[in-house]
Subunit: 141 residues, 2 copies
Amino acid sequence: MKLSTRSRYGTRLVLELALKFESGPVFLKDICKAQNLSFKYLSQIIILLKTAGIVKAMRGAYGGYCLAKKPEEIKLSEIVGALEGTLNIIDCIKNPEACKKYSNCASRFYWEEINNNICKSLEEITVKNILEKHRALNLLQ
Amino acid sequence: MKLSTRSRYGTRLVLELALKFESGPVFLKDICKAQNLSFKYLSQIIILLKTAGIVKAMRGAYGGYCLAKKPEEIKLSEIVGALEGTLNIIDCIKNPEACKKYSNCASRFYWEEINNNICKSLEEITVKNILEKHRALNLLQ
DNA sequence: TCAATATACTACTATTTTAATAGTATTATA
DNA sequence: TATAATACTATTAAAATAGTAGTATATTGA
């Protein structure tokens, strides 16, 4: 039940783009520098974010990345869903065939309940929330 | 963010012991037969549950396992905590040193919030809840 | 005491996932 | 057309997961 580095790095990446939301596109290498993360690794992660419609890419010289929508419109559930591949903590939620015991399984109902709570938490948090928290932390320094 | 088979199998194992809570100790091989799980794998899992004080073991002939406390006294958080090793979805919750960016990290606050919600969910569900769900499912057949 | 039967412990292993790295292709701009 | 950015694909090292295997230890009853 660990969050992968993909989700963690990807969230930091999106935060970095949110900080520059009003400016033009940002180079991935600058994001990597700011967050001290591997360029090649982030370039894989950001493509998943692009596919999920969270960021937009501009290719070629003077290209870069920017958010595809406003920080308040991006939920943490979208980021984590795109980077973990799924939000489900057990497979049988999506594929009842994944487990032979599906129809008789009492535990499943509670795993699903927990899963719903996780999804709800992730849906209630937006990039704007994280951005404001970030600004509050930086003002304190 | 997947639940391991250890947690899933372990919960099914505990449910099986809860079904026989009033009777004497149960052989692990019978639990394996009932749930169609590997004996050797479950014998590792059940030791973690014993160490966590969830089950009691009786060695030797006519030995077996039973719950160490009443089904309503066993929270899902105990089972998952014992079998996942931790309930934390990110390392810096327990070890601030795990991440260099700890003090400046805005995401962390939200990961912690989600983590707290997961723990709360797991604490609200007891083995008795699962037991009753199991009985309801079996009556329906 | 000893055979039978249960758990306890330790080591090993195959597979999958994670977390990258590397190199090349493609696109857009000046 | 050179340059500088993203896009794509393959490879890899390390760690975690999900087991298997074998032996040791404890308990019971004959």
